[in-house]
Symmetry: C2
Subunit: 145 residues, 2 copies
């Protein structure tokens, strides 16, 4: 705290190096989108990203938002989630983890890997291997209190 400028500079440098490490060319739009998403673990829809860009005073076309998010996802910088049919969610936490999902609001919350343990998992079908496990714990507000 206190050294906002230095913090900002160093996090900007971090974002640039993460993009560069993937061979992604640095542009203003990509830097803005990456800064929004990679500043902290979060779940955002394309529309929310576009809104955030507008709030920041940036003017980035919808097509570029989508293309950029897909580019980031293709390089493993973010992960696209399919938790509802309405729109895609982009998760900046790329480590293995799971999710809570509020069924009323659609809000997502991370569940740490170590908070879920399996004592049994099925054998994958012959000739197949497991590439990952998606787990969503659906929630609703309790009305019994």
């Amino acid at each position: 705290m206190g050294l906002d400028i230095v913090d900002t500079e160093s996090s900007s440098a971090k974002v640039i190096s993460r993009l560069s490490a993937c061979g992604i060319r640095i542009t203003e739009q990509r830097l803005r989108i990456a800064t929004i998403l990679l500043s902290a673990p979060q779940h955002r829809s394309a529309e929310q990203i576009a809104d955030a860009l507008r709030s920041d005073g940036a003017r980035v076309s919808k097509a570029t938002v989508y293309n950029t998010l897909n580019l980031f996802a293709a390089h493993g910088l973010i992960r696209q989630l399919s938790v509802d049919g309405d729109c895609a969610w982009f998760d900046s936490n790329i480590g293995p983890h799971y999710h809570f999902r509020d069924e009323q609001t659609g809000a997502l919350q991370d569940v740490e890997l170590q908070d879920v343990q399996f004592s049994r998992l099925p054998e994958p079908p012959a000739g197949m291997e497991v590439t990952g496990i998606d787990l969503v714990i659906r929630l609703r507000r309790r009305n019994d209190i």
Copy 2:
């Protein structure tokens, strides 16, 4: 085996009674869609249902297919899955269970409840209760054999 007519009659009667039990009015279109889905546990997209209806020689509008699937889902006769962003999948297995998903083809396969056991699950956030758990085990073809 051997008594196809009786089998067909009895399964048709079963479908009708399941719809009636939900207070769903019987129509030809609903009966056709229900017969396709409820004949066996399966996962189908709206488009696949529409294709199947066309193959059967039935002419059912796209709107009716969607409305009917939503109606069935609202009454708990089928369950809508969100496993990819491309389209909705409708699962006629409404008992609790999980899924394998082939990442290349998108194909789904049921995983029985007892084939997955949790030795640890996180506490839901305060004031919330768990309504269900969606688990998708992602698969790809092994190329190491």
